[in-house]
Symmetry: C2
Subunit: 190 residues, 2 copies
DNA sequence: CTCTCCTTGCTAGCGCTGCTAGATACGGGA
DNA sequence: TCCCGTATCTAGCAGCGCTAGCAAGGAGAG
Protein backbone atom coordinates (compact mmCIF):
# COMPACT_ATOMS: atom_id res chain seq x y z
CA UNK A 1 0.00 0.00 0.00
CA UNK A 2 2.70 2.46 0.96
CA UNK A 3 4.57 1.72 -2.23
CA UNK A 4 1.60 2.80 -4.25
CA UNK A 5 1.28 5.84 -2.04
CA UNK A 6 4.87 6.79 -2.74
CA UNK A 7 4.33 6.32 -6.46
CA UNK A 8 1.20 8.43 -6.39
CA UNK A 9 3.10 11.12 -4.51
CA UNK A 10 5.95 11.08 -7.00
CA UNK A 11 3.49 11.24 -9.84
CA UNK A 12 1.78 14.25 -8.30
CA UNK A 13 5.14 15.93 -7.81
CA UNK A 14 6.06 15.38 -11.42
CA UNK A 15 2.72 16.77 -12.51
CA UNK A 16 3.41 19.94 -10.53
CA UNK A 17 6.86 20.01 -12.11
CA UNK A 18 5.32 19.98 -15.58
CA UNK A 19 2.89 22.77 -14.83
CA UNK A 20 5.54 24.89 -13.15
CA UNK A 21 7.99 24.37 -15.99
CA UNK A 22 5.35 25.30 -18.57
CA UNK A 23 4.46 28.40 -16.63
CA UNK A 24 8.03 29.56 -16.15
CA UNK A 25 8.93 28.88 -19.74
CA UNK A 26 5.90 30.80 -20.94
CA UNK A 27 6.60 33.70 -18.64
CA UNK A 28 10.23 33.95 -19.65
CA UNK A 29 10.05 33.23 -23.38
CA UNK A 30 6.38 33.37 -24.31
CA UNK A 31 3.94 30.59 -25.14
CA UNK A 32 5.44 30.07 -28.58
CA UNK A 33 8.53 28.69 -26.88
CA UNK A 34 6.45 26.18 -24.93
CA UNK A 35 6.55 23.17 -27.23
CA UNK A 36 6.09 19.64 -25.98
CA UNK A 37 9.69 18.82 -26.91
CA UNK A 38 11.08 21.83 -25.11
CA UNK A 39 8.90 21.18 -22.10
CA UNK A 40 9.99 17.53 -21.98
CA UNK A 41 13.62 18.61 -22.09
CA UNK A 42 12.98 21.10 -19.30
CA UNK A 43 11.57 18.48 -16.94
CA UNK A 44 14.22 15.95 -18.02
CA UNK A 45 11.72 13.38 -19.25
CA UNK A 46 10.73 12.29 -22.71
CA UNK A 47 7.77 13.77 -24.58
CA UNK A 48 5.24 10.95 -24.04
CA UNK A 49 5.47 11.40 -20.26
CA UNK A 50 3.56 14.64 -20.67
CA UNK A 51 0.68 12.73 -22.20
CA UNK A 52 0.51 10.32 -19.29
CA UNK A 53 -0.34 13.31 -17.09
CA UNK A 54 -2.36 15.52 -19.44
CA UNK A 55 -4.58 14.87 -22.40
CA UNK A 56 -2.59 17.27 -24.51
CA UNK A 57 -0.81 20.59 -24.61
CA UNK A 58 -4.07 22.47 -24.13
CA UNK A 59 -4.68 20.64 -20.87
CA UNK A 60 -1.25 21.71 -19.62
CA UNK A 61 -2.02 25.31 -20.51
CA UNK A 62 -5.36 25.00 -18.74
CA UNK A 63 -3.58 23.77 -15.62
CA UNK A 64 -1.27 26.79 -15.79
CA UNK A 65 -4.32 28.99 -16.20
CA UNK A 66 -5.92 27.58 -13.06
CA UNK A 67 -2.73 28.35 -11.14
CA UNK A 68 -2.93 31.83 -12.56
CA UNK A 69 -6.46 32.30 -11.27
CA UNK A 70 -5.33 31.24 -7.82
CA UNK A 71 -2.55 33.84 -7.94
CA UNK A 72 -4.93 36.49 -9.20
CA UNK A 73 -7.38 35.70 -6.41
CA UNK A 74 -4.56 36.11 -3.88
CA UNK A 75 -3.52 39.47 -5.22
CA UNK A 76 -7.07 40.76 -5.41
CA UNK A 77 -7.75 39.60 -1.87
CA UNK A 78 -4.65 41.39 -0.61
CA UNK A 79 -5.65 44.59 -2.40
CA UNK A 80 -9.19 44.45 -1.07
CA UNK A 81 -8.11 43.71 2.48
CA UNK A 82 -5.65 46.59 2.61
CA UNK A 83 -8.34 49.26 2.23
CA UNK A 84 -11.41 49.81 4.38
CA UNK A 85 -13.41 52.30 2.33
CA UNK A 86 -15.45 50.47 -0.34
CA UNK A 87 -14.75 53.04 -3.06
CA UNK A 88 -11.04 52.97 -2.40
CA UNK A 89 -11.19 49.20 -2.30
CA UNK A 90 -12.70 49.14 -5.77
CA UNK A 91 -9.89 51.33 -7.02
CA UNK A 92 -7.28 49.20 -5.28
CA UNK A 93 -8.68 45.97 -6.66
CA UNK A 94 -8.97 47.42 -10.16
CA UNK A 95 -5.37 48.60 -10.01
CA UNK A 96 -4.25 45.20 -8.70
CA UNK A 97 -6.04 43.49 -11.56
CA UNK A 98 -4.39 45.70 -14.16
CA UNK A 99 -1.01 45.27 -12.52
CA UNK A 100 -1.39 41.50 -12.53
CA UNK A 101 -2.13 41.49 -16.26
CA UNK A 102 0.75 43.85 -16.95
CA UNK A 103 3.34 41.98 -14.94
CA UNK A 104 2.38 38.47 -16.02
CA UNK A 105 1.18 38.75 -19.59
CA UNK A 106 1.86 35.12 -20.50
CA UNK A 107 -0.08 33.90 -17.51
CA UNK A 108 -2.94 36.26 -18.30
CA UNK A 109 -2.98 34.97 -21.86
CA UNK A 110 -3.24 31.40 -20.64
CA UNK A 111 -6.17 32.40 -18.45
CA UNK A 112 -8.16 34.30 -21.03
CA UNK A 113 -6.86 34.14 -24.57
CA UNK A 114 -6.01 30.45 -24.60
CA UNK A 115 -7.67 27.68 -22.56
CA UNK A 116 -11.07 28.52 -23.92
CA UNK A 117 -12.57 25.17 -22.95
CA UNK A 118 -11.99 25.79 -19.26
CA UNK A 119 -15.45 25.76 -17.65
CA UNK A 120 -16.06 29.11 -16.06
CA UNK A 121 -19.45 30.57 -15.40
CA UNK A 122 -20.86 27.18 -14.44
CA UNK A 123 -20.93 24.94 -11.39
CA UNK A 124 -18.05 22.81 -12.77
CA UNK A 125 -15.64 25.73 -12.79
CA UNK A 126 -12.46 25.06 -10.80
CA UNK A 127 -12.51 26.62 -7.31
CA UNK A 128 -9.65 29.00 -8.13
CA UNK A 129 -11.74 30.57 -10.88
CA UNK A 130 -14.78 31.02 -8.70
CA UNK A 131 -12.57 32.43 -5.99
CA UNK A 132 -11.01 35.05 -8.25
CA UNK A 133 -14.42 36.14 -9.46
CA UNK A 134 -15.63 36.06 -5.87
CA UNK A 135 -13.03 38.64 -4.89
CA UNK A 136 -14.37 41.00 -7.52
CA UNK A 137 -17.87 40.24 -6.36
CA UNK A 138 -17.15 41.12 -2.74
CA UNK A 139 -15.41 44.30 -3.83
CA UNK A 140 -18.42 45.45 -5.79
CA UNK A 141 -21.01 44.30 -3.22
CA UNK A 142 -20.80 47.29 -0.85
CA UNK A 143 -21.32 49.67 -3.77
CA UNK A 144 -24.43 48.17 -5.29
CA UNK A 145 -27.96 49.06 -4.36
CA UNK A 146 -30.19 46.70 -6.28
CA UNK A 147 -29.86 42.95 -6.66
CA UNK A 148 -27.79 43.14 -9.83
CA UNK A 149 -24.57 42.32 -8.04
CA UNK A 150 -23.43 39.57 -10.37
CA UNK A 151 -24.27 41.44 -13.52
CA UNK A 152 -22.58 44.59 -12.30
CA UNK A 153 -19.49 42.68 -11.28
CA UNK A 154 -19.31 40.95 -14.64
CA UNK A 155 -19.59 44.28 -16.39
CA UNK A 156 -16.90 45.88 -14.25
CA UNK A 157 -14.69 42.88 -14.82
CA UNK A 158 -15.26 43.18 -18.56
CA UNK A 159 -14.12 46.78 -18.39
CA UNK A 160 -10.91 45.78 -16.66
CA UNK A 161 -10.34 42.89 -19.04
CA UNK A 162 -10.92 45.10 -22.06
CA UNK A 163 -8.53 47.72 -20.78
CA UNK A 164 -5.67 45.33 -20.17
CA UNK A 165 -6.09 43.33 -23.37
CA UNK A 166 -6.43 46.31 -25.70
CA UNK A 167 -3.55 47.91 -23.83
CA UNK A 168 -1.33 44.91 -24.26
CA UNK A 169 -1.98 44.63 -27.98
CA UNK A 170 -1.05 48.24 -28.60
CA UNK A 171 -4.63 49.29 -29.29
CA UNK A 172 -4.59 52.07 -26.69
CA UNK A 173 -2.23 54.95 -26.11
CA UNK A 174 0.18 53.75 -23.49
CA UNK A 175 0.45 57.06 -21.69
CA UNK A 176 -3.15 57.35 -20.56
CA UNK A 177 -3.44 53.96 -18.95
CA UNK A 178 -3.84 55.31 -15.43
CA UNK A 179 -6.46 57.82 -16.50
CA UNK A 180 -8.54 55.18 -18.28
CA UNK A 181 -8.36 52.95 -15.23
CA UNK A 182 -9.41 55.81 -12.94
CA UNK A 183 -12.20 56.67 -15.32
CA UNK A 184 -13.53 53.13 -15.40
CA UNK A 185 -13.44 52.88 -11.62
CA UNK A 186 -15.18 56.21 -11.19
CA UNK A 187 -17.99 55.07 -13.51
CA UNK A 188 -18.54 52.02 -11.34
CA UNK A 189 -18.23 53.72 -7.98
CA UNK A 190 -21.54 55.51 -8.06
CA UNK B 1 3.27 50.41 -70.45
CA UNK B 2 -0.28 49.06 -70.61
CA UNK B 3 1.01 45.52 -70.33
CA UNK B 4 2.58 46.31 -67.01
CA UNK B 5 -0.60 48.06 -65.99
CA UNK B 6 -2.61 44.96 -66.79
CA UNK B 7 -0.20 42.83 -64.83
CA UNK B 8 -0.34 45.12 -61.85
CA UNK B 9 -4.13 45.03 -62.04
CA UNK B 10 -4.20 41.25 -62.16
CA UNK B 11 -1.80 41.10 -59.27
CA UNK B 12 -4.00 43.37 -57.20
CA UNK B 13 -7.02 41.27 -58.05
CA UNK B 14 -5.27 38.13 -56.96
CA UNK B 15 -4.24 39.78 -53.73
CA UNK B 16 -7.86 40.62 -53.02
CA UNK B 17 -8.72 37.03 -53.89
CA UNK B 18 -6.27 35.78 -51.28
CA UNK B 19 -7.60 38.03 -48.56
CA UNK B 20 -11.21 37.24 -49.39
CA UNK B 21 -10.55 33.50 -49.46
CA UNK B 22 -8.76 33.67 -46.13
CA UNK B 23 -11.61 35.62 -44.62
CA UNK B 24 -14.35 33.34 -45.93
CA UNK B 25 -12.46 30.22 -44.92
CA UNK B 26 -11.90 31.61 -41.43
CA UNK B 27 -15.52 32.65 -41.06
CA UNK B 28 -16.88 29.31 -42.21
CA UNK B 29 -14.41 26.90 -40.61
CA UNK B 30 -12.38 28.94 -38.15
CA UNK B 31 -8.80 30.16 -38.34
CA UNK B 32 -7.42 26.71 -37.59
CA UNK B 33 -8.64 25.64 -41.01
CA UNK B 34 -6.78 28.49 -42.70
CA UNK B 35 -3.46 26.85 -43.53
CA UNK B 36 -1.27 28.07 -46.33
CA UNK B 37 -1.87 24.84 -48.24
CA UNK B 38 -5.62 25.03 -47.87
CA UNK B 39 -5.61 28.70 -48.81
CA UNK B 40 -3.47 28.01 -51.88
CA UNK B 41 -5.89 25.30 -52.96
CA UNK B 42 -8.80 27.67 -52.44
CA UNK B 43 -7.37 30.33 -54.75
CA UNK B 44 -6.18 27.68 -57.22
CA UNK B 45 -2.53 28.68 -57.03
CA UNK B 46 0.45 27.04 -55.40
CA UNK B 47 1.62 27.90 -51.92
CA UNK B 48 4.60 30.12 -52.81
CA UNK B 49 2.30 32.53 -54.62
CA UNK B 50 0.97 33.61 -51.23
CA UNK B 51 4.47 34.64 -50.25
CA UNK B 52 4.89 36.79 -53.34
CA UNK B 53 2.00 38.89 -52.05
CA UNK B 54 2.44 38.72 -48.29
CA UNK B 55 5.39 38.31 -46.00
CA UNK B 56 3.74 35.38 -44.28
CA UNK B 57 0.51 34.03 -42.90
CA UNK B 58 0.39 36.71 -40.22
CA UNK B 59 0.41 39.40 -42.88
CA UNK B 60 -2.57 37.76 -44.60
CA UNK B 61 -4.43 37.70 -41.31
CA UNK B 62 -3.54 41.33 -40.76
CA UNK B 63 -5.01 42.18 -44.17
CA UNK B 64 -8.21 40.36 -43.23
CA UNK B 65 -8.23 42.30 -39.96
CA UNK B 66 -8.01 45.62 -41.81
CA UNK B 67 -11.00 44.62 -43.93
CA UNK B 68 -12.76 43.77 -40.71
CA UNK B 69 -12.14 47.22 -39.31
CA UNK B 70 -13.61 48.75 -42.46
CA UNK B 71 -16.72 46.61 -42.03
CA UNK B 72 -16.96 47.50 -38.37
CA UNK B 73 -16.65 51.18 -39.17
CA UNK B 74 -19.50 50.86 -41.68
CA UNK B 75 -21.78 49.15 -39.20
CA UNK B 76 -21.02 51.61 -36.43
CA UNK B 77 -21.62 54.53 -38.79
CA UNK B 78 -24.97 53.11 -39.82
CA UNK B 79 -25.98 52.60 -36.20
CA UNK B 80 -24.91 56.10 -35.21
CA UNK B 81 -26.64 57.72 -38.16
CA UNK B 82 -29.95 56.01 -37.50
CA UNK B 83 -30.49 57.74 -34.15
CA UNK B 84 -30.56 61.43 -33.39
CA UNK B 85 -30.46 61.49 -29.60
CA UNK B 86 -26.86 61.17 -28.38
CA UNK B 87 -27.71 58.82 -25.53
CA UNK B 88 -29.69 56.52 -27.78
CA UNK B 89 -26.91 56.73 -30.33
CA UNK B 90 -24.43 55.46 -27.75
CA UNK B 91 -26.71 52.54 -27.01
CA UNK B 92 -27.21 51.82 -30.70
CA UNK B 93 -23.48 51.91 -31.44
CA UNK B 94 -22.70 49.75 -28.43
CA UNK B 95 -25.28 47.20 -29.52
CA UNK B 96 -23.96 47.29 -33.08
CA UNK B 97 -20.44 46.66 -31.80
CA UNK B 98 -21.52 43.67 -29.74
CA UNK B 99 -23.58 42.32 -32.62
CA UNK B 100 -20.62 42.61 -34.97
CA UNK B 101 -18.42 40.60 -32.60
CA UNK B 102 -21.13 38.02 -32.10
CA UNK B 103 -21.94 37.51 -35.75
CA UNK B 104 -18.40 37.49 -37.07
CA UNK B 105 -16.27 35.91 -34.37
CA UNK B 106 -13.46 34.82 -36.67
CA UNK B 107 -13.16 38.29 -38.11
CA UNK B 108 -13.20 39.84 -34.65
CA UNK B 109 -10.46 37.42 -33.59
CA UNK B 110 -8.30 38.46 -36.52
CA UNK B 111 -8.78 42.11 -35.56
CA UNK B 112 -8.01 41.78 -31.87
CA UNK B 113 -6.73 38.41 -30.74
CA UNK B 114 -4.40 37.81 -33.66
CA UNK B 115 -2.67 40.46 -35.78
CA UNK B 116 -1.03 41.96 -32.74
CA UNK B 117 1.66 43.74 -34.73
CA UNK B 118 -0.89 45.83 -36.60
CA UNK B 119 -0.05 49.47 -35.78
CA UNK B 120 -3.03 51.01 -34.07
CA UNK B 121 -2.88 53.94 -31.72
CA UNK B 122 -0.20 55.63 -33.82
CA UNK B 123 0.00 57.74 -36.94
CA UNK B 124 0.92 54.70 -39.06
CA UNK B 125 -2.34 52.92 -38.31
CA UNK B 126 -4.31 51.96 -41.44
CA UNK B 127 -7.17 54.37 -42.24
CA UNK B 128 -9.83 51.71 -41.63
CA UNK B 129 -8.66 51.35 -38.04
CA UNK B 130 -8.67 55.08 -37.38
CA UNK B 131 -12.09 55.29 -39.00
CA UNK B 132 -13.59 52.59 -36.80
CA UNK B 133 -12.23 54.26 -33.69
CA UNK B 134 -13.41 57.60 -35.07
CA UNK B 135 -16.98 56.35 -35.16
CA UNK B 136 -16.81 55.52 -31.48
CA UNK B 137 -15.21 58.89 -30.85
CA UNK B 138 -18.01 60.81 -32.57
CA UNK B 139 -20.60 58.79 -30.71
CA UNK B 140 -19.09 59.67 -27.36
CA UNK B 141 -18.34 63.32 -28.23
CA UNK B 142 -21.82 64.76 -27.57
CA UNK B 143 -21.89 63.15 -24.14
CA UNK B 144 -18.61 64.43 -22.79
CA UNK B 145 -18.07 67.67 -20.93
CA UNK B 146 -14.36 67.96 -20.37
CA UNK B 147 -11.55 67.46 -22.84
CA UNK B 148 -11.09 63.80 -22.04
CA UNK B 149 -12.85 62.66 -25.19
CA UNK B 150 -10.18 60.23 -26.38
CA UNK B 151 -9.61 58.72 -22.97
CA UNK B 152 -13.31 58.28 -22.35
CA UNK B 153 -13.82 56.71 -25.77
CA UNK B 154 -10.96 54.31 -25.22
CA UNK B 155 -12.42 53.31 -21.87
CA UNK B 156 -15.89 52.79 -23.29
CA UNK B 157 -14.39 50.79 -26.13
CA UNK B 158 -12.49 48.66 -23.62
CA UNK B 159 -15.74 47.93 -21.86
CA UNK B 160 -17.35 46.74 -25.07
CA UNK B 161 -14.31 44.71 -26.03
CA UNK B 162 -14.14 43.09 -22.63
CA UNK B 163 -17.81 42.18 -22.73
CA UNK B 164 -17.67 40.52 -26.11
CA UNK B 165 -14.40 38.66 -25.54
CA UNK B 166 -15.27 37.32 -22.09
CA UNK B 167 -18.70 36.46 -23.43
CA UNK B 168 -17.30 34.56 -26.37
CA UNK B 169 -14.94 32.49 -24.23
CA UNK B 170 -17.71 31.39 -21.91
CA UNK B 171 -16.48 33.53 -19.04
CA UNK B 172 -19.83 35.27 -18.55
CA UNK B 173 -23.31 33.91 -18.09
CA UNK B 174 -24.87 33.94 -21.51
CA UNK B 175 -28.31 34.93 -20.35
CA UNK B 176 -27.43 38.35 -18.98
CA UNK B 177 -25.64 39.67 -22.03
CA UNK B 178 -28.21 42.35 -22.78
CA UNK B 179 -28.32 43.54 -19.19
CA UNK B 180 -24.54 43.86 -18.99
CA UNK B 181 -24.50 45.82 -22.23
CA UNK B 182 -27.25 48.12 -21.01
CA UNK B 183 -25.43 48.57 -17.73
CA UNK B 184 -22.17 49.50 -19.44
CA UNK B 185 -23.92 51.99 -21.68
CA UNK B 186 -25.79 53.56 -18.79
CA UNK B 187 -22.50 54.06 -16.94
CA UNK B 188 -21.09 55.96 -19.89
CA UNK B 189 -24.18 57.99 -20.69
CA UNK B 190 -23.98 60.35 -17.77
C1' DC C 1 16.69 -16.36 -4.13
C1' DT C 2 14.65 -16.81 -8.61
C1' DC C 3 11.32 -16.33 -11.95
C1' DT C 4 7.35 -13.99 -13.97
C1' DC C 5 4.52 -10.28 -14.96
C1' DC C 6 3.14 -5.67 -15.14
C1' DT C 7 4.03 -1.06 -14.94
C1' DT C 8 6.77 2.80 -16.67
C1' DG C 9 9.29 5.45 -19.81
C1' DC C 10 11.71 5.42 -24.02
C1' DT C 11 12.78 5.52 -29.23
C1' DA C 12 11.03 6.24 -33.48
C1' DG C 13 7.83 7.88 -36.53
C1' DC C 14 3.22 9.84 -38.54
C1' DG C 15 0.86 13.61 -40.57
C1' DC C 16 0.66 18.17 -40.30
C1' DT C 17 2.44 23.14 -40.10
C1' DG C 18 4.80 27.69 -42.17
C1' DC C 19 8.07 28.64 -45.31
C1' DT C 20 11.77 28.49 -49.22
C1' DA C 21 15.38 26.98 -52.70
C1' DG C 22 15.89 25.60 -57.24
C1' DA C 23 13.96 24.14 -61.52
C1' DT C 24 10.64 25.13 -65.28
C1' DA C 25 7.61 27.15 -68.44
C1' DC C 26 5.73 31.10 -70.39
C1' DG C 27 5.35 35.51 -72.76
C1' DG C 28 7.12 40.19 -74.32
C1' DG C 29 10.82 42.61 -77.00
C1' DA C 30 14.56 42.71 -80.55
C1' DT D 1 12.37 33.53 -84.70
C1' DC D 2 15.16 33.62 -80.94
C1' DC D 3 16.40 35.26 -76.28
C1' DC D 4 15.81 36.60 -71.83
C1' DG D 5 13.43 37.97 -67.67
C1' DT D 6 9.57 37.10 -65.00
C1' DA D 7 6.22 34.35 -62.90
C1' DT D 8 4.97 29.96 -61.15
C1' DC D 9 5.54 25.28 -59.67
C1' DT D 10 7.59 21.03 -57.55
C1' DA D 11 9.94 19.34 -53.87
C1' DG D 12 11.76 19.63 -49.55
C1' DC D 13 13.31 21.54 -44.73
C1' DA D 14 12.72 22.02 -39.90
C1' DG D 15 9.57 21.95 -36.47
C1' DC D 16 4.91 21.01 -34.47
C1' DG D 17 1.42 17.87 -31.45
C1' DC D 18 0.78 13.35 -30.70
C1' DT D 19 1.17 8.00 -30.48
C1' DA D 20 2.38 3.02 -31.43
C1' DG D 21 5.27 -0.35 -29.95
C1' DC D 22 9.34 -1.87 -27.66
C1' DA D 23 12.75 -2.33 -23.63
C1' DA D 24 13.90 -2.04 -18.83
C1' DG D 25 12.82 -1.90 -14.15
C1' DG D 26 10.70 -3.28 -9.81
C1' DA D 27 6.87 -5.88 -7.24
C1' DG D 28 5.02 -10.16 -5.93
C1' DA D 29 4.71 -15.53 -5.92
C1' DG D 30 6.82 -19.81 -5.16
Amino acid sequence: MSIQARRARERAERERLIVTAARELAESEGWDAVTTRRLAEEIEYSQPVLYSHFKGKDAIMAAVAVEGFADLADELRAARGAVADPRKALAAVGAAYALFAERRPALYDAMFTHAVDLPFATAEAPPALREAFGELLETVRPLVRDDDLETLTETFWSGLHGLVTLMRNGRLRHADHERRLALLISRFSG
